[in-house]
């Protein structure tokens, strides 16, 4: 029994964390947040992540990747969440996963090395406005190798060279397609979001040429579901990182900040809230580890594990970042303070790849019906 990260995985986490601390700290994050019309994709950060192999984690070695698992990838996601780091990391990793799982050897050879090296930015467009995250929310139609419809919100579509789009064919079957930037009929409509640590947009397709992903291990609905599951786990990992860092910062602050002549952290109302949040965040951390491992090992309980992880991580991040603002007192409500980076990132990401409610509904379907 070994339920923990290996020394290598811990070292990987430390590397990413130290890189962010040294080269992309909260001041750098603020720079991106305060430039809402910029592309939100700092090149130095991107190159640094690429240099560490953070983009190559899941890519097979034959395509210049590290050939590691989702458990390793979630290490990166968690650190990026902890550092509220901007950029299309999750989007690019998921695009590469789509190719790895559903692409032909040729498609993989064309795209994966570039994605692994950070030369190509990818993203995924799996759901349309107000849609669910289970394939029923797809709002793009495929007619042969042409796509029409709008997917939204999509992470970083403006900087992406490759967009993996989920679309349904006339018979209603879903599948994944590759759309390249600049394709005819493709319009990226930037969508302003309050989460300044990301950039999102709508991907509008009008009879746009697209290449079906095919010839890989998975296809059709299975491929879409597998991609959704990976998106859920990586988002959960990001949220867990956000939650842990928000909690740590709040505890550190309340240990020192005095009101009524004593540290506010000595008040039991605050202590008990922090204790409950610590338990919740710790459980969410466990859940993300287990889910990532379950995906990697194709555990028969993988569907339950993914839903548990996403539901728990979303709830923990939501609660922790709300408490952060409350328990920093007024200062945590100001623009100048960093609390809102965590709060807004948690709020925006919590519902991505299925809200806590959606994942609980899925758990009910898996264990009640």
């Amino acid at each position: 029994m070994f339920f923990a990260l290996t020394d290598d995985q811990q070292a990987f986490a430390t590397t990413v964390r130290e890189f962010l601390a040294d080269r992309f700290d909260l001041d750098a994050v603020r720079g991106v947040v305060e430039d809402p019309h910029g592309d939100g994709h700092p090149v130095g950060l991107w190159k640094g992540l690429a240099d560490q192999g953070a983009l190559a984690v899941l890519v097979p070695e034959e395509h210049d990747g590290l050939g590691l698992g989702l458990l390793d990838a979630q290490v990166v996601a968690r650190e990026l969440g902890r550092g509220v780091a901007p950029g299309p990391w999750t989007a690019t990793v998921l695009a590469a996963e789509a190719l790895r799982l559903a692409g032909s050897p040729e498609q993989q050879a064309v795209w994966l090395p570039g994605l692994a090296a950070g030369d190509t930015i990818g993203t995924v467009a799996l759901r349309g406005e107000a849609g669910t995250w289970d394939g029923r929310g797809i709002t793009v139609d495929a007619s042969g190798e042409r796509l029409s419809g709008t997917a939204s919100p999509v992470d970083y579509p403006s900087v992406a060279g490759l967009i993996v789009v989920a679309a349904t064919d006339p018979s209603g079957s879903p599948g994944l397609f590759l759309v390249e930037s600049g394709a005819s009929g493709l319009v990226i409509r930037d969508q302003e979001t309050y989460d300044g640590t990301a950039r999102v947009g709508a991907v509008e397709l009008a009879d746009t040429p697209a290449e079906p992903l095919g010839g890989g291990t998975l296809s059709g609905a299975d491929a879409v579901a597998a991609l959704m599951a990976r998106g859920a786990v990586l988002t959960a990992a990001d949220l867990v990182g956000v939650a842990r860092e928000a909690l740590t910062r709040t505890v550190d602050y309340d240990r020192e900040r005095k009101q009524f002549g004593v540290p506010v952290g000595s008040f039991q109302a605050i202590k008990h809230t922090m204790a409950d949040l610590h338990v919740a965040v710790t459980m969410a951390e466990h859940a993300v580890l287990f889910a990532a491992h379950a995906v990697d090992t194709q555990d028969p309980g993988v569907d339950v594990a993914v839903a548990v992880a996403k539901a728990k991580a979303a709830d923990a991040a939501w609660a922790t970042t709300g408490a952060m603002i409350q328990f920093f007192g007024g200062i945590g409500f100001t623009w100048e303070h960093e609390a809102h980076f965590f709060y807004k990132r948690a709020r925006r990401r919590a519902p991505l790849f299925g809200s806590a409610d959606e994942h609980r509904a899925r758990l009910a379907a898996l264990t009640i019906d």
Partner: protein, 390 residues
């Protein structure tokens, strides 16, 4: 139980409603109108409009006529609050002066203060700010560090205030200053009425997490205030402050309910627009907000009854604060929760602007902090209402 207002009160409602209908330009009630204006312009419009409302006799509703008020009943004040919300009238600009300072001056002000302060405030000729919180004195108001040193007939004031509403538009500020050197906690404080239009006073907007600036900071650097411009006695500032804060216990819950209920309906409309209103789980979430909102309404009627009967509300105001602030915050949590990924987009559709919703949702995080945090209010309820030991 008799939940009706008197005929006289309903008559007042009719008059007010008629005046509001005739005096609020249609465009003012359109979504986005106020946000599109720059801050100074918006303030000026509201300031002037309210002055005309005062001239028409619709301000200081429950104040004695000797102070320029209408001499109305608590019920009329509740009706006023409700109708202002219903008519989507602009936000009151002199709100802290009108709510807190004016009744305190009526109670303990000098004849000169009564004569010189209340009228100009009511007519918006002087805009008042409140200077209570400091960076190191939030929930713990007694930790005030701003100090005033006697110099001839004046005090010379140095220090910083924060969370000051309308800071950059203010003409004067009522503020707690430590006037007795070396004093601690509740002792040696004075409530000074300081002219903000002097070199020693600087006001800066404070940008909030939403990007808006409802609050500001006020810096005092050798600011001067005549000793006579102290409200209450020198050194009795804590008593003055407590008296002043006691006037929060009004009947504004009726207006608050009206406003929050409209927000509920607006959130429901967005949920419907984005196909979320049929989801049974989302419906539970929203309906539970409605439960708390309706309770807030009943509570407002209960409080109004207490006020009409001349009862001292005492620590009950802490219960009111908890109910409205937690309910309001939960309502806006429901917005984020129910709308899902669309909630974080300014325009999930090109024709839909959710920015005002997002601002409210973020604003809702502050209401459980200012005016006595929820933690402070729970202490008060536990100790003063339930009698649990300190």
């Amino acid at each position: 139980m008799d939940l009706s207002y008197t005929a006289e009160e309903e008559q007042f409602r009719e008059e007010l409603r008629t005046w509001l209908a005739a005096n609020i330009p249609d465009e003012w009630t359109q979504p986005g109108f106020w946000r599109a204006l720059d801050d100074d312009e918006s303030f000026r419009l509201r300031r002037d409009w309210e002055a005309s409302k005062t001239a028409a006799g619709f301000s200081g509703i429950e104040w004695p006529t000797e102070y320029g008020g209408r001499g109305g009943t608590p019920g009329m004040k509740a009706i006023y609050d409700e109708e202002m919300v219903r008519a989507r009238a602009p936000q009151t600009v002199n709100v802290l002066g009108l709510t807190f300072l004016a009744p305190t001056i009526m109670a303990i002000g000098t004849p000169e203060q009564k004569a010189e302060i209340i009228g100009p405030m009511l007519r918006n000729e002087v805009i008042w700010c409140q200077g209570f919180s400091e960076p190191g004195a939030g929930s713990d108001l007694a930790a005030v560090a701003t100090r005033g040193v006697r110099d001839g007939d004046d005090y010379v004031v140095n220090g910083q205030k924060i969370w000051t509403t309308n800071a950059v538009h203010g003409d004067k500020i009522f503020t707690i200053v430590r006037t007795e050197p070396g004093s601690e906690r509740h002792k040696g404080l004075s409530m000074m009425l300081i002219d903000m239009d002097q070199p020693g006073v600087e006001a800066r907007p404070l940008k909030q997490m939403s990007g808006a600036s409802e609050f500001g900071e006020v810096f005092f650097t050798d600011a001067r205030v005549p000793a006579k411009d102290c409200l209450g006695e020198i050194g009795a500032g804590w008593r003055t402050a407590m008296l002043l804060l006691s006037f929060e216990r009004g009947a504004s819950g009726v207006g608050q309910y009206t406003e929050f209920r409209r927000q509920y309906d607006e959130i429901v409309a967005e949920a419907r627009r984005f196909g979320r209103s049929d989801d049974p789980v989302a419906r539970q979430r929203l309906a539970n907000c409605l439960v708390e909102l309706e309770c807030l309404r009943y509570h407002a009627m209960h409080i109004l009854t207490q006020v009409e009967q001349g009862r001292d509300l005492g620590s009950e105001s802490s219960m009111t604060k908890l109910q409205w602030s937690e309910t309001f915050q939960d309502l806006w949590e429901a917005f984020d929760d129910v709308l899902g990924p669309e909630a974080s987009l300014a325009r999930p559709r090109p024709d839909v602007d959710l920015t005002p919703f997002q601002h409210q949702a973020m604003w809702s995080r502050s209401v459980t902090i200012w005016g006595g945090s929820s933690q402070v209010q729970r202490n008060i309820v536990a100790e003063r209402v339930l009698g649990l030991p300190r």
